[in-house]
């Protein structure tokens, strides 16, 4: 009955109650969002790498190496020589080695040059291996393996042909179109940056760079082209021309899938003649395909992930690598680098949480003020309730119940808003910030926040509730 009275009372004061509700929804949503994003970032980062004991790269900075090699974020540093990679590979402490060559993109997705060791040894989450949804690992030098998001967003399937762009970012002005790759495998979704990456062979990537030539020809931004178009650009490339397509042209073709079987027809449509480069390219790809995919000798790589036979040797190996003077390298332990990252982020997180909590508190104080302000107009109601047997304590509970109902509704709406909003923003967050939200956004933290908000409401609402209680003590029949 008290709940009914409280609900009806709030409905009677729906304007003020609604405004109070909105302020609570906004503040609690903010607090929940900060907490969810904080834990998702942490979870996403922690989930991304598992089982990698040491990462070795050029001396740049612990975080830079970690972010570029594992999270496909930031600009990769200059490489380390293959000799150094070979020496690492022959180190008796090393169980496996994954070389990484970074710095290119495909339609805004990072391209990672690596070997099949990546699919064999790289693990994410709770030591989960990568699984192929379709196809398999690199079969030839021109192979590419794509992440689940790349396949989904660009509609790629096995045997599709793709071209990578030089440099990072969605817009690149230099295409490695002289060496297109063909998709041999599509990975299962992992909820990590793997989903948004295109993996190509180390040698293939080096070949693609060789094909680009030293001149650094500027081309229109085209993440992927139909083979005919590639050929058109190959013309420009080989002829040393600078081809500039208008924006519409770019938009039209940037999301199109390469369709080798249509190459001849498309070529005619675009160029009006059969370019000999088409045949040259096919021959080149065939030649590459015959090369040993496991022969990965390249001049240099951006970083190397190491799995050790015994993790205890990780610190020792890291120390020794970092002490070398000839071709200095930087060796990092992913766990420690992440800890440093959290340390940096910890203060920002704490500040954000503090600010959000203060905003929630101010909203709750607003709720208490609203209830207190209505107390005078409720004197008659209090007198009526008292005369029909309501104790002053019942009046106290009634006012607190009203506050708790608003807070509960506020928390409920906030949970819906935050879940809905973050789910809707999921693709954007992963595309723009590399933040991979898991399917379950809400955690025990969210529940703890709701409980804390309700507990705070209970405390804050004590003031108006006590005013009702006091009034109840002195309420008289028909008092006005």
């Amino acid at each position: 009955m008290l709940t009914t009275i409280a609900i009806e009372s709030l409905k009677r004061r729906k304007n003020t109650a609604l405004l109070t509700l909105v302020s609570i929804v906004i503040s609690v949503s903010l607090l929940l969002s900060v907490d969810i994003i904080r834990s998702q970032v942490k979870g996403s980062f922690t989930r991304t790498v598992s089982g990698v004991d040491v990462i070795v790269g050029a001396p740049s900075g612990q975080l830079n190496l970690l972010l570029s090699s594992v999270f496909n974020l930031t600009t990769p540093s200059k490489g380390i020589s293959w000799d150094r990679v070979s020496s690492l590979n022959s180190d008796p402490r090393v169980s496996w080695l994954i070389p990484l060559s970074l710095g290119d993109t495909h339609s805004g997705n990072r391209v990672v040059g690596t070997t099949n060791a990546y699919f064999e040894h790289f693990k994410y989450g709770d030591k989960q291996p990568l699984v192929f949804a379709e196809g398999g690992p690199f079969a030839h030098v021109g192979s590419a393996v794509i992440g689940a998001d790349v396949a989904e967003s660009l509609g790629y399937r096995v045997d599709d042909s793709i071209v990578i762009s030089h440099g990072l970012g969605n817009v690149s002005f230099r295409q490695h179109d002289g060496f297109p790759f063909s998709v041999t495998g599509v990975l299962e979704k992992t909820g990590t940056p793997v989903d948004k990456a295109v993996y190509v062979t180390l040698i293939g990537l080096e070949k693609a760079h060789e094909h680009a030539g030293p001149s650094g020809i500027v081309k229109p931004s085209q993440s992927i082209q139909r083979p005919s178009n590639l050929h058109a650009q190959a013309h420009a490339h080989t002829d040393g021309e600078t081809a500039v397509h208008d924006k519409d042209d770019h938009d039209k073709i940037s999301h199109e899938k390469a369709e080798p079987e249509e190459a001849g027809h498309k070529e005619k449509r675009y160029e009006g003649d059969n370019s000999p480069h088409a045949h040259e390219e096919d021959t080149e790809r065939q030649r590459m395909g015959e090369m040993d995919v496991e022969n990965n000798t390249v001049s240099s790589v951006s970083a190397v992930m190491l799995g050790l036979k015994n993790r205890v040797t990780a610190l020792q190996l890291q120390y020794q690598l970092n002490q070398r003077n000839n071709e200095p390298v930087l060796a990092i332990l992913p766990g420690m680098a992440l800890a440093e990252l959290w340390q940096i982020m910890g203060n920002v997180e704490a500040l954000l949480l503090l600010l959000s909590s203060l905003i929630v508190m101010s909203a709750l104080i607003g709720l208490a003020t609203m209830l207190l302000a209505t107390m005078r107009e409720r004197y008659q109601e209090i007198a009526v309730l008292r005369t029909i047997g309501a104790s002053p304590a019942a009046l106290l509970i009634l006012v607190q119940l009203e506050a708790l109902l608003i807070a509960l509704a506020g928390c409920g709406v906030s949970l819906l808003v935050v879940t809905g909003l973050l789910t809707a923003l999921k693709p954007w967050l992963s595309a723009e910030f590399g933040l991979f939200l898991s399917d379950t956004l809400l955690s025990s933290n969210s529940l703890a926040i709701v409980i804390l908000v309700l507990a705070s409401t209970y405390i804050v609402s004590f003031f108006p509730a006590y005013a009702a209680y006091k009034r109840g003590l002195h309420a008289e029949l028909n008092s006005q």
Partner: protein
């Protein structure tokens, strides 16, 4: 006794009635610090009301009628003396016991502001059941509410209407329903007809008298016309010894002695 009446037993008191209200040497003064009212003293030496007895209480404005009713209902506690209700020393009960006693045994109808405006007719009546400790999910109680509302000539269609959408007459009937739903032994009614026209007033009185026939009824009104419904008449009176405002009751139907 500075003021008041020695309420001698009337002929009506033949032993077949139990005493519903007994006041013994009660004095009360509003604490000026806690009240906006002028300082008012009430002193009543002895006064009784029996079950089934209906008394008409009149008196000029400010004579202390409402204070007297508040003392009877336990929302005010006397400074000294004893108020016994249904032969229990009401003023000696704890606040919680008094609240529960009031919910179970005392029905109150005000002049106005009787109902909680945002609750429906049914909810207003159910609230009285709830605070009396009844299980309000009991379907039998719904039947009881419906029957009472029918007795009060209120349409079933009004059951879910919000209280503030009713006419004043309808509101007063709902207030009676709420006051009677727990079949109280004591009914306190404070100027309930002042907002009603003559026809509605008579109708209201008929229903009230009928439904409250087994309760001790204290009926406060300025309207001398209503005296005819009551066999026992009382009035609050004032006098000012030593420049203090003192009120007491005189029972016109009994051997009332002036203060």
């Amino acid at each position: 006794m500075k003021a008041g009446v020695s309420a001698t037993e009337s002929a009506k008191t033949n032993g077949s009635y139990n005493i519903a209200i007994a006041i013994d040497n009660v004095s009360f003064s509003h604490n000026a610090a806690h009240s906006e009212r002028a300082r008012l003293f009430i002193e009543i030496e002895q006064w009784h009301l029996y079950r089934g007895e209906h008394v008409f209480l009149s008196g000029p404005s400010g004579s202390g009628k409402s204070t007297f009713l508040n003392l009877l209902s336990g929302t005010l506690t006397p400074d000294s003396g004893t108020i016994s209700l249904l032969e229990q020393p009401f003023s000696a009960l704890s606040n919680k016991q008094r609240d529960r006693f009031r919910a179970n045994n005392i029905g109150v109808v005000f002049q106005q502001f009787n109902l909680i405006p945002y609750l429906s007719v049914k909810q207003n009546v159910k609230a009285a059941l709830y605070f009396a400790g009844a299980n309000i999910k009991d379907k039998a109680l719904d039947e009881r509410i419906l029957k009472l509302l029918n007795d009060l000539q209120l349409s079933n269609q009004l059951l879910n209407a919000k209280a503030d959408t009713l006419s004043v007459g309808q509101q007063q009937r709902v207030a009676i329903a709420r006051a009677l739903i727990n079949t109280p032994d004591i009914l306190i009614v404070d100027e309930p007809t002042s907002a009603l026209d003559a026809k509605a007033r008579d109708s209201f009185m008929d229903v009230l008298k009928k439904l409250a026939k087994n309760s001790a009824l204290v009926f406060v009104s300025h309207d001398p016309y209503l005296k005819k419904y009551f066999s026992r008449h009382m009035s609050m009176h004032q006098f000012t010894p030593n420049h203090q405002k003192v009120a007491g009751v005189s029972d016109a139907s009994r051997d009332a002695s002036p203060c």
